[in-house]
Symmetry: D2
Subunit: 359 residues, 4 copies
């Protein structure tokens, strides 16, 4: 259960403080010219230690591709990707070796497997997403070969600071990257930064929302039953640490509205069939209809807080814990990279699937 | 992509107006005594034509099991389940043969596959869930063999009428089934019924929310990365028609709170490790921690409304459509059965997975 | 583990004396016009009771397709295929209910699953192949849409009677079907029939060999490692009851020869690259090279003999058994249909796989 | 299609002259204490340059395990295994860059993928088996935790020199390893060596047979249909380069015998059910019956011969080629390691599968 995707299948491996984290793509079609710099760049954007909001672990995160390419092109054989763990400081975790950190995976992993790698969260660390971001970038390059479809994700809320979304508008990467917090609303971005600074002083952490637009998606992505586009996307999104909710369009507020208010009428715009509204957020019957696809993710605050917390140790003894390590106040700006990468992995699978859908 | 689950894998087949709908379970462990009446009963609860809120298609929905059992016990071979389509009235759909109904799967299916079964939504009909409900009941019986875990789902909101949830409380099936709308809050249930009656007069439809509790779940369900419990659950839930959002716990309102407010401290209660709060809704690091698991689903109103709507036909010509067939005002009470069934399919897979997790 | 194929995946279900046997194809590409008569005809050829060499169970074997087609074309949704069991005479098996028949699957199934359907071999009966032959014919029709590739299998040996093979020659279906034993060598066919008649008198059974040619295969079928063409084919072939050996080309006799004797030199024949010899039997590095693919299967005699045999019952008591039922002397002529069907299922998967191999 | 196994799934990656070859095991159950020296030792036995019969590429083949173990035990997370390519001498292949070597995978790979890594066979090199041998040793250690089952493979024939097999006898590793050619018949081993020496002088190569015994297999390995033990084993075996045939027991010579001659009568030996003969080679109905499982593999001679051969280049021009590189005269002694490893991977999957077969 460490793989995702059925055609462009990505298998993850590695623990936070092992020698490396990595993944294998089985398979990217042969003959694609890979832009290696763009892959490194995508991983760099995910990196910690960019700002004060982020963890202080200082990793080079150099992407190594060990197989599947030759003279710059994909061979059609598995692409193995590694990122070495160089700055893992396991001594930070010695004190926590015997303790179950609140709202972390320590307790559940230990009881499930009978043992656990206590260093840095082991397999449950956000670090394992680094090579998956590289895989997502390869997925993106592959998608670009076939379509103009683009995934654009950004921070739309941190704590209680929330920007107004407008899905009649295609957000641009430039306006997102202009903000260190990856929020395209520059005013809200500043408010968010103030909130983060405050929380850092308090040794506390923040959650928020990431919004995703899939722009210029072709018609026909997804399948009627278990392969519904929203089913595949949500599976991938919940594989991201701290994601706790997802809605397509305004799903939760729309429950108060009626069918006649929400149905998207078809219209013929100079020969092209379009919908007049887009309450279905680009998906009908689990399949993309050519309109903008968009969804919002709710992230809980990360669990590693510096404040003292009550917990138990492995022997069940009540103890106090204060997590010193090097941790984010808010993971969302970095998570934007992960969200985009996983979305691209979903989309390349569905695009390839469509090569098989008709005789 | 018509299968779900990796160990107790369910493969769906059938179209709304074909000869039957069905599924194959590959595989349920051998030696389980099946309660066949309970299987029929589960499917009956999903049936249409129960009340005025529901569709008027009058199907017997007799469950036939064609393989995999012998003398009342599972053989360990695939279990094939059929439900014949007897009351399919395709003539209802002749008028719609050439028309793309708004917010339905007609248009997307046609463009994806190059042809479509226009009768009753074909493969995209909610009818295909009937045999899957039977499979879910077999999953439930299998789960009961191993644990006390129970899935309890109910309607918590229809349109704007919303009950107050209390997850310190284990909802009981009796109080849910006491309401024809499957809402355990009897006052709200009546309000919901009034709203449904009103909408029926208006020829309109309603969405809402279903809330799910997984009671007495064992510790250890789910895996750290792509097999996270919430990832598996959400994948299954979004495979249900009209589901557009999911949140575990209060994911969307919790984004405004901080880590220190939301972390669930561990405590030792007379030798048992518990959490003091349950903001993580029973899942930490993607794995169940022994606390109550709960989540909420947002359903859009069903798209078949009797009011006139603007749309286009297959030639792109602008037409008006009014959907006469036999359709629900609100699908949620019936969807409760589907939600429970799919949840049980997820859970039996994860339970079986745990037979392999340790040497 | 009841499925075969990754893209055109066939899931088998059913027991010999249950209500039916069947399978589900997930998925055949949409838009293929199915020749339903050819499907029935393929299944008829597999049927028992054709001649004195074959079992006396008299099944109509009517193929029912319950889903996945609309107005004669595939919908791209799962195709469910059923064949009802009508002439199952379970009373034949009452006497054997408690007995492990020698060289049958009774004992191993019982010890594996803790119970067994003793009627007609249950899941291990050759009867489960009937719907798979229908699936194989759909695979063949799908292959015909893309290429001229044809699978031609025939009986090359029964007992000690063996025909001379010539793989410089493309065997034709007509000459094979001219023989009731499906052996294109008419002289040997007669000898085989005499041997069968003799064995029938003695209450004994015969094995033999089936030879398979894959004619006009395109270049590029198969993958370098676990998806090698011969790996996929042998997996499918050993899924057929009583197959105990397979060789590609003259594998076993060739082990005495040297590399220089066996290497197939490439040559340019008027612009087409061909090999001068074909010792590799059309496969190099696990991938088809455009030459004739051919292999031979060794079948053991079927185990149901009328002669008295020594065995034990479920309590381990030593007993004598004489199998009265209705059984073949030699299953090979019927098995030709199964071999061709399974080969076609392998090939359609590899053809579809090739739609994904290049960007 | 670069993975094998459904529960203990091994995904292969790497090309012969890339930076490394490797694989990922997803997943080995948690809590197994790994013997790392035994893993290295298994890989060393597969290594080239052991003797004059083997290739001269001099690789250290140091096994690196990058994930999935902690303090000597498996974590239940994916185990990534690497072996760096250090002595890859790509200049050997510059001359062959544009040439299709006879009976190699050059031509088929090129036409399938549109490009190829011409250096050392790329993905089709036997070198990719090195990390899979490590995976097989982990499988073996896992098997040893559960049962006494042992896989013992050995060379039974090289060229025309063939030892007499006796499957009433359990061959021991000591007698096999006593021979540099891994043939337990010391006399035949010497004859084989003479033949190899002679062929080396002639610049030619040799094939042969490997025989495999699965000793003390438990009852119940394998499944009735596509998961038959022989189907799974043959799939894995044909994934090994140059394997062209397989027979279980004496499949090919047995086709001349009758059911009454070959059926294995059950007998009660002091309370244990055994068979009097073992013509079924330990498998009935695709499932192990507790008797010795044994099969024989036919290998063609390796294709890299030093003699001049006729072939074509990428432009279709007729050329002469003489393969200078560093190649084996006979790969079989090394292949013994690969055969055992792949067999163990099949067996651990079936053992784990049996944890799920009964309620």
């Amino acid at each position: 259960m460490n793989s995702f995707g059925n055609l462009f299948k990505v298998t993850s491996f590695g623990e936070s403080h092992g020698s490396m984290v990595g993944c294998v793509i089985d398979t990217c079609p042969a003959g694609l010219t890979l832009n290696l710099e763009a892959i490194q760049s995508a991983v760099d954007k995910r990196k910690t230690n960019q700002q004060n909001f982020a963890s202080q672990r200082n990793e080079e995160d150099k992407v190594e591709i060990a197989s599947g390419i030759f003279e710059g092109k994909t061979l059609g054989s598995p692409i193995a990707i590694f990122i070495k763990n160089k700055d893992a400081n396991s001594s930070d975790y010695e004190a926590l070796k015997n303790v179950y950190r609140p709202s972390h995976a320590d307790y559940t992993n230990h009881l499930k497997y009978g043992l656990r790698d206590y260093r840095g969260g082991g397999r449950s660390s956000i670090r394992i997403t680094a090579p998956l971001v590289a895989a997502g970038e390869i997925a993106r390059q592959c998608i670009s070969h076939y379509t103009n479809m683009r995934v654009v994700a950004f921070v739309s809320q941190i704590g209680s600071v929330k920007m107004q979304l407008d899905n009649n508008f295609l957000y641009q990467r430039e306006s997102i990257e202009a903000s260190v917090l990856r929020c395209p609303d520059s005013l809200k971005s500043k408010e968010m930064q103030l909130l983060i600074d405050e929380m850092q002083k308090q040794g506390d952490t923040l959650g928020g929302c990431i919004h995703v637009q899939i722009q210029e998606a072709p018609i026909g992505l997804g399948e009627p039953i278990f392969g519904k586009l929203q089913a595949e996307l949500s599976h991938a999104m919940f594989a991201i640490n701290t994601v706790k909710g997802i809605e397509f369009g305004n799903a939760f507020s729309n429950v108060s509205l009626t069918g006649s208010q929400l149905n998207d009428s078809f219209t013929n715009e100079h020969g092209a069939i379009k919908t007049e509204s887009n309450n279905n957020a680009g998906i009908q019957g689990g399949i993309s209809n050519g309109e903008l696809i968009h969804f919002t993710l709710a992230f809980k605050p990360i669990s590693s807080i510096q404040r003292e917390q009550k917990t138990v140790d492995e022997q069940g003894k009540q103890v106090e814990v204060s997590i010193k390590g090097r941790h984010d106040v808010c993971a969302l700006p970095r998570a934007v990279s992960i969200v985009e990468a996983y979305t691209n992995i979903v989309l390349i699978n569905l695009l390839l699937q469509n090569k098989l859908s008709r005789i």
